[in-house]
Symmetry: C2
């Protein structure tokens, strides 16, 4: 891809434009309605040179759309809230619901353009960003989304002309900053970054379109035609955008079977140790805050394995300003209308804070798999998607601790019965718990595969033997503290 080989002289006369435009606008409106009915989310990215006309073109686009169905997201330098999260966080949380259109005025590509060239981020960071972007767009496309990316191209000479015109008008002179001029001087350097970006991030499901943007009319028509073609292509296909290779589930060994469920602790020893651990945990909270390290802890496990009690012991001495327990229940209708990982990106803790997930994104490969709430292709590709998400979090600097609270079937029965027979515990047990218990076998197969496929170097699982609640609490606390102290001493 060579920007200087692009013919920038293309233009359209007013009459041709007028005729073309009204037809294209009508077509776009119609496709928007069809995409809404089909529940297809559409992402449209506008990148381009300063003063290339992104604002104007975006307005041309959205004037053709029903405002009930889209959002425009201007991408400014990240706010403090945003800097304290992984770089894709602010884009993940803004991905469109099914049937909606999200227009990004600049985007995640800032990482490999302005932030790269201006050396805001290290080489390592922007190289990693290419990987993150690849998985981000692939995941959205797999989920059925359309991704349309425009780069608005003008020459260096044209840019200078436009800057001067803006400076000539008192109402617009503030729009040209020193930084814009600095970027203008570095045009050739930027051009190289743009070319590399286009070459490296044009997969079938999210190709770039370079728009020759000297002539506004030509640019508008090309932009609209491209968007129409992309949405139409998606709507004529039945399934999601990209196929996924399904590997057979051949899990040879079971981490669960190897767990020693006889491990236990007596009350005296427990009382002896728990208080000290809780105080250390409080110190850990303070230290993480001071060093701005985010900590994500998740608890999965059999019903009645003791997740709630375990979490309470973990946080009992903490400052509530520094941690949040995020209980995961069935998704509400807003959550259902998004990619399944969307609702887990949202509560990612600010750097220095702690998030404790009571159940998690692993529901996708357990309950949703076993109860068939999602298709086989969906849960099968989820392993990779989850690993990618966790890798991004860890790369950002997060500590990730994942617990599977393990008990045997007999212990579960005893606890269910106890709940049933104790008046103030009765609300804790439902018919659903009994139904799930009957599917112990299928659940165990799902858990075994999950543990095998998602115990990665950067985010390993810890099996907590939980037949003895006291042992489980001490082990979970100890594991978290050790993981944190190890990082803190790095």
């Amino acid at each position: 891809m060579k920007l200087n080989r692009i013919d920038l002289s293309k233009s359209l006369d007013k009459q041709t434009y007028k005729t073309l435009h009204s037809g294209l606008a009508q077509k776009l409106g119609e496709l928007q309605r069809r995409a809404r009915e089909a529940g297809v989310p559409v992402v449209i990215v506008f990148e381009g040179w300063d003063a290339a006309g992104k604002g104007t073109l975006i307005n041309k686009l959205i004037l053709a759309l029903d405002p009930r169905g889209f959002n425009v997201h201007p991408t400014n330098p990240p706010t403090e809230e945003e800097r304290l999260r992984p770089f894709l966080w602010r884009f993940w949380t803004r991905t469109p619901a099914r049937g909606r259109i999200a227009v990004f005025d600049r985007s995640w590509y800032g990482r490999v353009l302005v932030e790269r060239v201006d050396k805001v981020v290290s080489r390592e960071d922007w190289q990693a960003a290419y990987e993150d972007i690849d998985s981000f767009e692939r995941q959205l496309a797999h989920d059925g989304g359309v991704i349309i990316k425009f780069f608005l191209h003008i020459s260096r000479k044209e840019q200078k002309k436009r800057f001067k015109k803006l400076l000539g008008n008192p109402a617009t002179e503030w729009k040209v900053s020193k930084e814009d001029w600095r970027h203008h001087k570095q045009y050739p350097k930027y051009a190289k970054a743009v070319e590399e970006m286009i070459d490296r991030t044009s997969p079938d499901w999210a190709p770039w379109t370079v728009i020759e943007a000297h002539d506004e009319r030509f640019a508008t028509v090309k932009m609209m035609k491209t968007a129409i073609a992309a949405i139409e292509r998606r709507l004529t296909r039945a399934g999601p955008a990209a196929a996924v290779t399904l590997r057979p589930s051949r899990i040879r060994s079971s981490m669960l079977d190897r767990a020693d469920l006889s491990l236990s602790l007596n009350r005296a020893e427990y009382e002896n140790r728990i208080d000290d651990l809780q105080k250390r945990m409080r110190d850990v909270e303070h230290e993480l805050y001071r060093k701005r390290i985010p900590l994500v802890i998740l608890f999965e496990g059999w019903d009645a394995a003791g997740k709630g009690g375990n979490i309470r012991r973990l946080v009992s001495h903490l400052d509530p300003r520094g941690y949040e327990v995020v209980p995961i229940i069935a998704p509400n209708d807003v959550e259902k209308a998004h990619h399944y990982l969307w609702r887990f990106w949202n509560p990612f803790p600010k750097a220095g804070h702690i998030a404790v997930f009571d159940r998690s994104w692993y529901g996708r490969v357990m309950v949703e798999r076993v109860e068939k709430f999602c298709a086989e292709a969906e849960w099968k590709r989820a392993y990779r998607e989850i690993n990618e998400m966790e890798q991004q979090w860890v790369r950002f600097g997060a500590i990730l601790v994942k617990f599977w609270l393990h008990i045997d079937k007999e212990t579960q029965l005893a606890r269910f019965t106890d709940r049933q027979n104790t008046p103030y515990k009765k609300w804790k047990i439902t018919d659903e718990d009994w139904r799930n218990r009957e599917k112990w076998g299928p659940y165990k197969a799902a858990v075994d595969e999950m543990l095998a496929r998602t115990s990665t170097a950067c985010a390993p699982w810890t099996i907590v033997e939980a037949n003895c609640k006291l042992h489980a609490r001490v082990k979970a606390l100890t594991t978290v503290i050790e993981a944190a102290e190890k990082r803190l001493s790095d």
Copy 2:
């Protein structure tokens, strides 16, 4: 209210505490479940001296709760995003959904405490805040919410002792800042502000409870008992918290009847003026941005009065980074679970930005009234609630322009028929539109009352005669531009 008359020597021994605490914790958990079933939102505010133990007490509270049902909101100095909105914005957007509990660690009272004493805001601002807080809490209580407010009280001597203890531990010394010491020195001045706050903001539906906080056990028990009593009191009542005085709807004159629907503009004159107006509108957008003035425009009007087309002409030359069209449709389930004004607080534009509402909060006193989606008491008190909200926005500095697009019944029929008969317009007309048309009379009565009750000095309605679409577009644009230019020249 005199803080120095409070007996701070109260305490509880360990054994008494242990016995009391487990019973209270169980009771709180039970009440949380009952509040969830009853759909009662609960707001709990913790204010108090630095080092009075807010964090510890909040943790004691939430450890007794099911984490699936609450959120803790730490109140830090406002972020930039927050400073660019009215001061209650960040609290309104965090009000709990029905059945949930929101715990605020510090709160909106910062305005009349630290921000007042430290002179972060003007006297005028914190005096106005008292009014805003009054209406905020009253609105939540009317909506069925419980509001529990704690002030954690310790003496100046005790505070000094605690600061020194924190400083003595390397893990906690960072918690005592210079500012804390400065506040400590100004303790008497703060005490006066606290006393005034408690005296002025203790209505029946949101009383303050001062917690003697020298002894953590005593404080914990008093806090839990108070919360339990408040939630229990609410649950034993059937209706919402506070009664509302219903004034009879006696609207003598109709703004609608006085509108001259014969006003029109020919195409040539329209073409002649529209372009210039749109360019002025673009300059207005720039100037508002430079001066950080938020502009809120709302369009209400009969079906087919031309809201969509009007909005498109208004924004067609604008930079999409500076404006947003907010279309209001039926609330989703998350929105339904909140106070009806919650979803309108959320999209309040950042200072310097423009929000155009296509339909608005006035749905409460129109469609919800006529179709009986809400109770009579609800829409009747909505006039005041809406006026209060708009007043807060205007006081913050917002320009508020409210349009009623008015057409007569014949014009509506002609437009409905045209939509029905034109293939590419057909999607715009539904059975519901025809049904609404049959209720023209009841809707007109509702509109007349709405216009009469909510045309306030700070937020008047403008009737746009819209039988002629060209006239309507020019009038709306002109009205917005004049309102903005008037403010910009102030």
